[in-house]
Symmetry: C2
């Protein structure tokens, strides 16, 4: 026996499907008695509405798609967590899409999401290519960018101000008395997370009258291995430094590990500040001082914005720069 449909309920309650539908939606146009009959039939048959059929007529699926470059990173999953939380609260489901490195599957996924008629899209941590923008535009659903942005197209985004956050981190080290400050950066070609952090660092130095020395910054590609390599390079080639700003926690940890191996004490011999505040930043020893990005909250905000765009069909775009904050743990200390 197949699952009960609204027709079965109607038959069992001896009314029309329209009436059943009305009862189920709490509309008007039926007596208390009919309502009882209907409810009883629903109960007996274990009826559950079919959202697919509903979606077909409403042209609404109550589903959003979320695109990530790496689903499994701690980073993405924190954002996802926030998105999912709000979505479910508001009656939406979320389809996760792993676009893989370089957005290899982005176009493919965009098409799937279109065919599946999602009501909106969250696009995270990847640069929004023109091609993507066009595809999304054709779908005529709202998008919201998280942890990325587009200067070319007016699309609402949620992100922290990387430049400012990097400035903050660097300035913090300076306030602690450091003047020889190295940096492990992301790729300067990355205009979203790479360049701005590098520039924030430079600006902070400049504003404090500290000379920028190019050999004091090394690119670590945001990951652990990159961090250790960059640290080794810095130790070998850069003029001595008493503090280090790493543009990601992973790189910070890579750097800490080589320091540890070489007997460089943290924070006594070297102060380190990271960026991201991933879960493990507080797990390592000593716990990492870092820039906290409120990822879960950013996910929530994005979800909320997107859904209001969907429901109110409002056309106004509003982006949010969410504020980072610096969490002081134990890897930075004042220079005497």
């Amino acid at each position: 026996m197949n699952p009960a449909t609204i027709k079965d309920v109607a038959k069992a309650a001896d009314v029309s499907v329209a009436t059943v539908s009305r009862v189920l939606h709490n509309l008007t146009g039926y007596s208390d008695k009919t309502k009882q009959k209907v409810m009883q039939a629903v109960e007996e048959l274990g009826y559950q509405p079919n959202a697919i059929a509903r979606g077909l007529v409403n042209k609404r699926t109550q589903t959003i798609g979320v695109l990530f470059p790496h689903v499994s990173s701690s980073f993405s999953s924190d954002i996802l967590h926030g998105i999912e939380e709000i979505a479910q609260e508001k009656g939406f489901s979320v389809i996760v899409c792993n676009t893989a490195e370089e957005g290899k599957r982005t176009m493919k996924y965009l098409q799937v999401l279109r065919e599946k008629q999602v009501d909106g899209i969250v696009f995270t941590s990847e640069v929004l290519k023109d091609e993507y923008f066009q595809a999304i535009k054709e779908m005529r659903v709202p998008v919201i960018l998280v942890n990325t942005m587009s200067q070319k197209h007016m699309i609402p985004y949620v992100k922290v101000d990387d430049h400012q956050a990097a400035y903050h981190a660097t300035d913090y080290l300076i306030q602690k008395g450091h003047r020889e400050i190295a940096m492990i950066s992301g790729s300067p070609k990355d205009r979203i997370a790479g360049l701005p952090r590098l520039e924030g660092y430079r600006q902070a130095l400049a504003d404090n009258g500290i000379e920028y020395i190019e050999s004091r910054v090394a690119n670590g590609d945001f990951n652990l291995e990159g961090g250790t390599e960059a640290m080794k390079k810095l130790l070998a080639e850069a003029p001595p430094f008493t503090a280090l700003f790493a543009a990601s926690d992973e790189m910070a940890i890579g750097a800490m590990n080589v320091a540890l191996e070489r007997g460089i004490k943290i924070p006594d011999d070297l102060s380190i500040i990271g960026y991201d505040d991933l879960k493990f930043a507080r797990m390592i020893y000593p716990p990492l001082t870092t820039i906290h990005q409120p990822l879960t909250m950013m996910g929530r905000m994005a979800s909320e914005k997107l859904i209001s765009l969907i429901e109110e069909d409002s056309t106004q775009v509003s982006s949010s720069i969410v504020s980072h904050h610096l969490v002081e743990r134990q890897t930075v200390r004042s220079k005497p």
Copy 2:
């Protein structure tokens, strides 16, 4: 102008919708000439099929639902990664469902998944209550369990043998010459991940003629704080020990941190082995020796099994015990 439908294509190509549908599905019953016309119309109109409408008639949505207790844990996201990877390869989308602690939202989500007509369900890391089982049974879709199992119901699962893995970890310490071995466990009430690991530990001791001392095991609830608390308790109350088996990496790290704070050198003074091999196990210093659970692969396997269950409608259940392995890093050393 609304998105083009198959009717629009039919009109533009001057054929019936049935014909369009057939050429789109590469069936027979049309000439080359018509195919050209249709393809051209598709092109011009930018037609994309509507999966919702298709789902309604096919009774297939090409979508699976995945239930997790914590979406944001590194643990879950590795599994999700594997699931998503295979799913997309096979043309399925995945809806993520965060059931929250204690499965507070599990029933609610099961209902959503039913209404959305998912074709199958992956249920992870949570005990399958009777209530859940009934709900899923009523949906008449295949389920597969990951990282959990049910002795009561015959449902295929993918997991490692926790008892055996814990035995392995403990035995490894013993082979390294340790005989005073403490354990930080999960809750013994947890029959999936808690008890079996504890029993694996006990069994390994027994098989090697080592007495089990109750005060040498402390419950750390699988998380960091629990790990640090348990470690403190052990240090204070347990008879001295030279090695420690922690039933999760997080707890292992918690323990390592208190060791570090108290000047206990790892592995010189104390050997530690963890369980899970989360991403950060190799990031910390010294890198953690631990039991590797192939989470991504488990996700892949689950996805594959589920989809074959969906597609072949085969009714045979086959579970997989996947093999863990011990990854030797730098937190264990032989006792002289």
